[in-house]
């Protein structure tokens, strides 16, 4: 077994002290492996943003341990945190948060520059990533000239330019229409599966369940129920493993939303291949 990319053990976070103190996150534990997509859902005020801030080394836990690639992040000095954030973590925001004065290429290259890359190297790398995300024709556009989906792809490129182990996204589809939101979701999935990055998404968007490996439900600062999710290889729907119809093929277990899908799969299992490949073609 590989050790998990991110390991949080009994992490609590309280805002303030004394009688007015608010316990936003309570003794939460979680392990995330490379290539895994975790979706955190929950009602407003349940502690989702707080959890994301803790994972992003933007907030120190009141108690507990957060280990990112074996490094105890909570114990690092304030001076070392910016480097961790730059190199290990990519952030994606609901409202994109691009720098309005810089063009697409500069927005992405800036973050590579901050991480220590030389000017030319940073630009080359930014250009390559933007190209992969289909933004080659938008390099010199200012953010204001882009559509919402393009902006979010630029933000994703920025999050990836330093090749982080962990990508954190806060409501990444909330400001996008459903078609574009769908594209962004699958882009995040590709990033996880092809590049082996761990992705944590906080969202209300039910459709993100489709791409998540696990869905966590946060309520009152605690995980109430952890549903292990799988994707139906036939219809691509997200299904909860413990409730799904299963089928075995070549020693692997597959999960289906319905008997129909399972029957279809079992007739010609070779056509669907393994899960990763299915997603790739998608």
């Amino acid at each position: 077994m590989k050790s998990p990319v991110l390991e949080i053990i009994k992490v609590s976070k309280s805002y303030g002290t004394g009688p007015t103190s608010v316990a936003a996150v309570k003794e939460v534990s979680l392990e995330i492996d490379a290539g895994q997509i975790i979706l955190v859902m929950g009602p407003s005020g349940s502690g989702k943003t707080t959890l994301l801030l803790l994972l992003g080394a933007l907030l120190r836990p009141t108690e507990g341990s957060i280990r990112l690639n074996g490094v105890e992040v909570g114990e690092l000095s304030e001076r070392r945190l910016p480097a961790i954030r730059l190199q290990q973590i990519g952030f994606i925001f609901q409202d994109f948060n691009l720098l309005s004065a810089l063009n697409v290429l500069e927005n992405v290259a800036l973050v590579a520059r901050l991480a220590g890359l030389k000017k030319e190297a940073a630009r080359t790398k930014a250009q390559a990533i933007l190209g992969e995300l289909g933004l080659a024709s938008r390099l010199y556009f200012l953010p204001e000239k882009l559509s919402g989906g393009e902006k979010q792809r630029v933000a994703i490129a920025r999050a990836l330019v330093n090749e982080p182990a962990l990508v954190l996204a806060d409501e990444p589809t909330a400001n996008l229409d459903s078609k574009i939101g769908h594209e962004v979701m699958h882009l995040l999935k590709r990033i996880a599966k092809e590049q082996g990055r761990s992705v944590v998404i906080v969202s209300h968007d039910q459709r993100i369940k489709d791409v998540a490996d696990r869905v966590l439900w946060l309520e009152d600062g605690e995980f109430k129920e952890i549903a292990h999710m799988a994707t139906d290889p036939v219809c691509q729907m997200a299904v909860e493993r413990n409730k799904a119809i299963t089928g075995e093929w070549e020693g692997q277990t597959y999960y289906f939303c319905s008997k129909g899908c399972r029957n279809e799969f079992m007739e010609t299992p070779g056509e669907f291949g393994n899960l990763a490949e299915v997603l790739h073609h998608h």
Binding site: T49, L110, K119
Partner: protein
């Protein structure tokens, strides 16, 4: 790349940037121009010394300058001076300061009495007419004559006596005082024929060290003060400096205050309105030092451009002013430029303090909170 961002942020808000740089330019111009005015006045005040042709000035003991001074020396002292080793010529000069009135204005003047055969101390550039006035004639500064509405051949009343304008001189005007020349004998008469002169202008023999000759003169002449031309001029400049010090200090303070207020305010606003972006940069992993450099480069660019504009403006004005005003001369000195550069840097430094403090305290966690930043 961060500098690029600072630059873009600065120029994206053109009005604010113009206000910032313009405010600095205005404030620094105030300082530069007033300094240039004083520098110009200094040049005007020492014009006579610089152009008289004299190496040394002999005056009554204790009298070190011309402006607001009166010096009396026996006319016979000239022969004594000429005997001293190293002296090639000595010219007596009669001098006093008085005022001339036009219909509605009065003008301060330096009145010089010079002999027809004077070797030194004559008007050095003449626009029209004679250089040396004969008895009953006067040669006066051209601009002064214009102000007094006098043409060649007109009469001018000086110390109660009429003189005919026989020449108009150049470079002899000034903001404080202008020069009027009459014949030495007329001047003596106005002083009731007393056998006294004001100064002796002394030329040393070629190759002699003026300083050495001055010391020799000082040792052999009692009741006198002997100074080299440079010492004499320096005394004159010191007078202006002392007179102008208060005004200069006040204007410098005002300029500093305006400049600082404008830059500090516009920078504070520029940083404050973009605090979300700076918070984002912090969250992404930018260090505080990166952000401080943003502030500093923005402030420095504003101040540097403001300084450039103010210098250009002052230089431009120094060319235009003489075309418009007759007696005002703007002279820009290195000392003033360096002083204003230092003031600019101090302004930049102080203006950066508040935004830097603000960015230092900015909590990057706020990027994830709606409306948090």
């Amino acid at each position: 790349m961060l500098l690029l961002l600072a630059w873009r942020n600065l120029f994206q808000k053109k009005v604010r940037f113009a206000a910032s740089a313009g405010g600095v330019a205005l404030a620094l111009s105030l300082m530069l121009m007033l300094d240039a005015v004083f520098q110009g006045v200094e040049g005007q005040l020492t014009a006579y010394m610089d152009n008289s042709g004299a190496d040394l000035f002999v005056s009554q003991q204790g009298v070190k300058a011309m402006h607001m001074a009166a010096s009396w020396l026996p006319a016979t002292l000239g022969d004594q001076i000429k005997k001293v080793e190293g002296v090639s010529a000595a010219t007596p000069l009669l001098y006093l300061s008085t005022t001339l009135k036009s219909k509605d204005k009065s003008y301060a003047v330096y009145l010089f009495g010079i002999a027809p055969d004077a070797e030194m101390g004559k008007p050095w550039q003449v626009a029209e007419g004679k250089t040396v006035p004969a008895s009953g004639e006067t040669v006066l500064d051209r601009n002064l004559a214009a102000n007094l509405k006098l043409k060649m051949g007109d009469n001018l009343k000086v110390l109660g006596r009429e003189f005919k304008v026989a020449g108009l001189s150049e470079g002899t005007g000034g903001l404080i005082s202008s020069m009027v020349f009459i014949a030495r004998d007329d001047f003596t008469q106005l002083r009731n024929n007393l056998p006294v002169v004001s100064y002796f202008l002394v030329k040393v023999v070629p190759g002699a060290d003026p300083q050495v000759v001055a010391a020799r003169l000082q040792a052999s002449l009692s009741g006198t003060t002997v100074q080299t031309k440079d010492e004499f001029a320096a005394q004159e400049r010191k007078l202006v400096k002392d007179m102008g010090a208060d005004v200069l200090n006040i204007v410098n303070l005002i300029g500093f205050g305006i400049g600082l207020a404008v830059v500090a305010l516009t920078t504070y606003i520029a940083i404050f309105t973009r605090r979300a972006e700076y918070g984002l940069l912090k969250a992404l992993g930018a260090r505080n030092s990166h952000l401080y450099r943003q502030v500093l480069s923005q402030v420095l660019v504003s101040v540097a451009i403001g300084f450039g504009v103010s210098l250009a403006l002052t230089i431009l004005l120094s060319f235009i002013v003489p075309l418009v005003s007759t007696n005002l001369v703007l002279a820009i000195g290195w000392a003033a430029v360096i002083k204003v550069i230092l003031v600019s840097l101090i302004i930049a430094g102080i203006a950066a303090v508040l935004p830097v403090w603000q960015l230092g305290r900015l909590d990057p966690a706020l990027v994830f909170k709606k409306g948090g930043l």
